[in-house]
């Protein structure tokens, strides 16, 4: 059987620069499974890519409709941005009965959506990251911060949950203000943040979007020199761009302890892309999870295998890392349990989203260094 798998990403639009790595991540997993020849007695997996533009719900729905109804995909790795994901899930995924696993839609709204069990995500809801980040900041002895967030559901949700947690734990937030991605200039934002003051600046944005624009402006004008960088910002792009200017900055992103990410990085390097790019690992995991679930269910029918997704992702069972999908397939075929760890330590909690293990990082010496996990 030739199994088609959909990939729905914003290949054009505001996040067009991180989508290629995500696409490659997902395709990597599919290729790995396909090449192994072990999925459902030698089925092959063919990716079908759709451009959901990230911002245009209607275009996204149309694209996913095509994937599902025309190409007949058995699952969709996507969507990318929360708004568009909700629309395509409600319009296509649920009614057509197709599993969607999003690598990057982190809005808390997706936790409560009535998805009839068809939706999962390999990234955690932002609610939890706020807590973790508040702890990290306080532990480093920083008691007053300014917060800027990218003005979408992700940024807003994260900024709110962080601010609440931080205040509850005794920190002071001088200002919480938004920045828009893709704007020509961030002087106004930087000026406002600088005027509000604080010992560090929390930037809940994207590394190659407004987030780095704000950092650039802050460094140039000397407004801040310590930045707290959550998942969207923890990215090699940032390191390349600012190098040693981030000496005192730190952050965290959801990531597996140890092996998973490293293995994935190596695989990615081999395949010719940057595995540390935002959500590339999550994309790999999302695709892998669907395929493993098929194997577990012995069926490529999404209505059947949707019930197995949580099972393969969580304990008990043998741990499966990136590059070991073949092994996972074998084990499943043999009727054994697996615990898919993947690139990002996937651990799905109800209602089908990543629990979120975060690694704490800093940028000493112009490099991205992992400090610890929590």
């Amino acid at each position: 059987e030739e199994i088609k798998m959909g990939i729905s990403l914003g290949l054009t639009g505001p996040l067009e620069s991180i989508s290629p790595a995500m696409q490659k991540g997902a395709e990597l997993a599919m290729k790995e499974v396909s090449d192994s020849g072990k999925l459902l007695d030698g089925s092959t997996v063919t990716p079908v890519v759709a451009d959901n533009t990230c911002t245009d719900a209607a275009a996204s729905v149309a694209a996913v409709t095509r994937l599902v109804t025309a190409d007949g995909v058995k699952g969709v790795m996507g969507g990318m941005c929360s708004g568009e994901t909700i629309a395509s899930l409600e319009q296509v995924g649920v009614p057509q009965g197709v599993v969607m696993i999003s690598p990057s839609a982190t809005s808390p709204a997706l936790s409560t959506i009535d998805d009839k069990g068809f939706f999962f995500r390999t990234s955690p809801s932002d609610a939890r990251q706020g807590e973790v980040m508040a702890d990290i900041v306080l532990e480093r002895g920083i008691n007053s911060v300014a917060v800027t967030y990218t003005n979408n559901d992700y940024g807003k949700g994260l900024a709110d949950s962080f601010a609440d947690a931080y205040k509850a734990k005794g920190g002071t937030v001088t200002v919480v203000s938004a920045h828009d991605d893709g704007k020509a200039d961030y002087s106004a934002e930087v000026a406002a943040l600088a005027a509000a003051g604080g010992d560090a600046l929390v930037v809940a944005g994207y590394a190659d979007q407004g987030g780095s624009g704000v950092i650039q402006g802050s460094l140039d004008t000397g407004a801040f020199d310590t930045f707290v960088l959550p998942d969207g910002m923890v990215n090699n792009v940032l390191v390349e761009k600012f190098g040693t200017q981030l000496e005192t900055s730190f952050g965290q992103n959801p990531s597996a302890e140890g092996e998973g990410q490293e293995k994935f990085d190596a695989l990615a390097k081999e395949a010719g892309f940057d595995g540390t790019s935002a959500y590339a690992g999550e994309s790999y995991d999302a695709a892998a999870l669907m395929l493993l679930a098929m194997q577990a269910a012995q069926s490529s029918d999404p209505k059947v295998y949707k019930d197995k997704v949580m099972e393969v992702a969580n304990e008990p069972g043998e741990k499966i890392y990136p590059g070991e999908l073949a092994k996972g397939l074998e084990l499943l075929a043999a009727g054994q349990d697996i615990d898919y760890v993947g690139a990002t330590s996937v651990e799905l909690i109800e209602p089908g989203e990543s629990a979120g293990v975060y690694r704490e990082v800093d940028f000493k010496g112009g490099k991205l260094n992992v400090v610890g996990y929590r």
Binding site: T12, A59, V61, A62, T65, A70, S82, Q96, S107, P108
Partner: protein, 446 residues
């Protein structure tokens, strides 16, 4: 010499033939499966539905531009306002939101409105040296009072269950009722905007309305109490059955089987057909009304105003009032389309209201179709929307064709990797071709 432009005669068959071609495109999309078409009726109908909504938007823009020459570049704003209606009218009420600060909020809004009215009165009534101070006093006092009422109310509402709600909530009425309300919202805003900005001409009006559109969207993004801002509202009720309910109904499954369709496919098609019916009725109704108006002295008057305002004014036509009238009506139609769109999406996501997509693309539709001609605008809308969606497939396909003869290597990989961006190129090429061969639009104004 300045008038050597000649209107080429256009065959009366042109419009019907073009509509037939369009229909053929959709038929092909629904029934053939190849590199160009998907062969899925679900896809075809999904494109059609949004196409019909786009046609309504295009109709609104066409009224403003085609009839009256008003360059409204704030389409996205009126659309967004219309989209607000389904949320405020038909989502379920939010527990506790009203109690938290509803009355105070309403009072605050009334005070804000009252301040503006009072300020306008002050500007009109007071003359001489006291004019500016009086205005400032009214504005400042009004603003302070407004913020004093507004801020706590908003805080309370936004704090109410902020992860899932945090907004004032809806009334829980049927969603179809929100469509006229959406039109009303947009019309009200257009009235205010028109009062202020319609003195401007051409590109100046365009940039002013563009700004107003941006402001409206900015408000919707940032005012969480209203519609959760960037956190989006999803799960807006529908006027048609849910696919899953259909799939669970044995009746429906049986009927689907008669047609040889799987329940999932059949339910998708059926729901989309229902939507298409609803949208089609609205569209045809609007076109009928618009055509009747256009083919009567009213339409003649509007054309005269568009041609030469000074002369029309001298011939007793109240140009300002007519401009306002058509601006409001056109915006109302756009607002209606906004409400329809949000109903179809089941989602209000202020971040998706971006001017490229909802202002310029609509303009492209109107111009490609033929401004001043209702049928043309509708045709252009559905066609351009079709292309916009299909460009997603055709672009990479084109790239594959182009790179076919290239030797495998870095260049080819790079090009194939950039294939999604062919979407823009493909769209640009099509747009230029249409404009080239039908510079006054596919179905030009007679």
């Amino acid at each position: 010499m300045s008038n050597t432009r000649q209107a080429e005669a256009v065959s009366p068959w042109r419009a019907p033939v073009l509509f037939l071609i369009l229909a053929a495109l959709f038929l092909a999309e629904g029934s053939f499966r190849n590199a160009l078409f998907s062969g899925s009726w679900n896809t075809a109908l999904a494109i059609l539905n949004m196409g019909l909504i786009s046609a309504v938007m295009a109709l609104g823009v066409n009224m403003q531009w085609g009839y009256a020459g008003l360059f409204n570049a704030g389409v996205v704003g009126f659309l967004a306002l219309g989209g607000l209606a389904p949320v405020l009218v038909s989502t379920a009420p939010v527990q506790g939101a009203w109690a938290a600060g509803g009355p105070r909020l309403i009072l605050a809004l009334l005070v804000g409105l009252g301040t503006l009215v009072l300020a306008a009165q002050a500007w009109k009534r007071v003359s001489g040296l006291m004019r500016v101070p009086a205005l400032i006093v009214v504005l400042v006092l009004g603003f302070v009072l407004y913020r004093w009422l507004f801020d706590p109310a908003v805080m309370a509402i936004e704090a109410n269950n902020s992860a899932r709600a945090g907004n004032i909530g809806g009334l829980g009425w049927p969603v179809l009722m929100s469509w006229p309300v959406g039109a009303l919202f947009a019309a009200a805003a257009a009235w205010g905007v028109g009062k202020v900005a319609l003195g401007l001409r051409s590109d100046y009006l365009a940039i002013a309305t563009l700004g107003i559109g941006e402001i409206i969207v900015a408000v919707m993004r940032n005012e969480e109490w209203l519609s959760r801002g960037v956190k989006n509202v999803s799960g807006i009720p529908r006027p048609v059955p849910y696919e899953l309910d259909l799939q669970n109904s044995p009746d429906f499954v049986a009927r689907a089987a008669e047609w040889g369709l799987s329940p999932a496919v059949a339910s998708g098609i059926w729901v989309k057909l229902l939507y298409a019916g609803l949208f089609g009725i609205v569209l045809l109704g609007l076109i009928l009304l618009a055509e009747l108006a256009l083919k009567s002295p009213w339409g003649r008057m509007m054309r005269a105003i568009r041609d030469n305002e000074t002369a029309a004014e001298a011939m007793g036509k109240d140009v300002t009032r007519r401009h306002l009238q058509i601006f409001v009506i056109g915006s109302a139609v756009i607002g209606l389309a906004g409400a329809m769109m949000v109903t179809l999406d089941g989602l209000l996501s202020p971040n998706s209201f971006n001017p490229l997509r909802y202002t310029f693309l609509i303009w492209v539709m109107v111009i490609v179709g033929g401004s001043g001609n209702n049928w043309g605008a509708a045709l252009g809308a559905i066609l351009v929307w079709f292309l916009w969606i299909k460009a997603e497939v055709w672009g990479p396909e084109l790239m594959r064709l182009v790179t076919g003869p290239l030797p495998a290597g870095a260049l080819r990989d790079h090009l194939l990797g950039s294939a999604p961006h062919m979407r823009f190129i493909a769209l640009g090429v099509v747009l230029l071709l249409v404009l080239r061969f039908a510079p006054r639009g596919l179905v030009p104004e007679k």
